[in-house]
Symmetry: C2
Subunit: 230 residues, 2 copies
């Protein structure tokens, strides 16, 4: 499948490697490919420059946001939430129209320390903001409840554990669930919470995820729903 | 132990029955005991009048908020979150001073429909508001991630599943964890998230809990933390 990954941080890079390994036709979108490749120092988060990653992923294709949008049948938003809408505007509303837009970002605001507050919560969500900004895109919020390594390899954690999807388009959720299956998530652990407003639930859950990160000292926690025996 | 339960709804009643069954010396606090007992109709939530419940719990003791505060070594806030601080003001700051105040309430605002929004979230929490309003109380936020029947009988759900405590006072959290043990929660499933600001995590989690209630049609869900095998 033709897939565009938006965002060149650790998350976007890991998605490109994994999706390419699964046989997909993947491009990685960035604002200015030349400038991104020219960097030789880690960024402010300590992420090594992309050129380092390219040494291990020589076949990866770095393209502009708009080229990525034109390429992808599925577009994966792996940007930091604060930049998500600006980045997707560069991808282009016309390129996103009718496409599955898998949004895994969280609206983190680091200005008040750690664990991060959310820039939007309770009465709205980043998933809804993105769907409103790109009404013709078929937004599916998912994967935002686990760390990126777990997103791409759920068997890192033992046994059954759950994931959620939110979105207005049933077929788009089906397509995303299929892709999650390729990553290793069995279909029956993926809970369809409902329309895109249910993204509030998983985005607000992130406060617990980050609080547990402080408690355990790592991000290696997911949750399994526990229900009465039938 | 002398325990005061504040709030005569389904949650408060269930706590009185369970705690009495465990051998504790329990009172149930309400604004106006005579008026509460005189009611013969269900309330606006459909809760049967307290007089009906008394038929099955003839030894229960209904007292004023202030009498409840004077009685309890541990005070359990089982009021609806919107009324929590007003109710606790009637219990009395002087009665709460030095006491363990187990707060299981959620700041639900039903005005925008279901699932409920929170009246406070993200930058503050009801747990923190209560601690600020009663600085000499030893507030412990817990149990707010499960439905009240599960609070009091975790074996309703199979296997291991988790609960959280938040609070500034380590001894108060220890006392609460002990009480949770009497309900059936093993100490090692109770995660101490940290100080009272971590109540934001579990209060914000409630959006997922209520969204799952819509999905499954019941409140019988808890979560188990899934972590890498050691």
């Amino acid at each position: 499948m033709k897939i565009a990954v938006i965002g060149t941080g650790m998350v976007g890079r890991a998605f490109v490697t994994r999706l390419t390994g699964l046989g997909h036709d993947v491009v990685l979108g960035t604002r200015d490919p030349q400038a991104t490749l020219a960097r030789t120092e880690p960024d402010h988060l300590g992420t090594p420059p992309l050129s380092t990653w390219f040494a291990d992923n020589p076949d990866a294709r770095l393209v502009t946001m708009a080229e990525a949008g034109a390429h992808g049948e599925v577009v994966i938003n792996a940007t930091a939430g604060a930049h998500a809408i600006a980045a997707l505007e560069l991808v282009g509303a016309e390129n996103l129209a009718g496409k599955v837009l898998l949004d895994l970002s969280l609206p983190l605001d680091l200005s008040a320390g750690w664990p991060p507050r959310l820039s939007v919560a309770n009465d709205d969500s980043l998933g809804e903001q993105i769907q409103r900004a790109f009404p013709d895109a078929r937004v599916v919020k998912t994967l935002n409840t686990v760390q990126y390594e777990t997103m791409l390899d759920p068997a890192r954690l033992p046994g059954r554990h759950n994931l959620f999807v939110s979105g207005d388009d049933a077929d788009a959720k089906k397509a995303v669930t299929q892709l999650l299956g390729e990553f290793g998530w069995p279909a029956d652990v993926v809970i369809d919470l409902g329309d895109i407003t249910t993204a509030r639930a998983t985005e607000m859950y992130s406060r617990l995820l980050f609080t547990l990160q402080v408690h355990f000292g790592d991000f290696d926690t997911n949750i399994a729903l526990v229900r009465p025996a039938k």
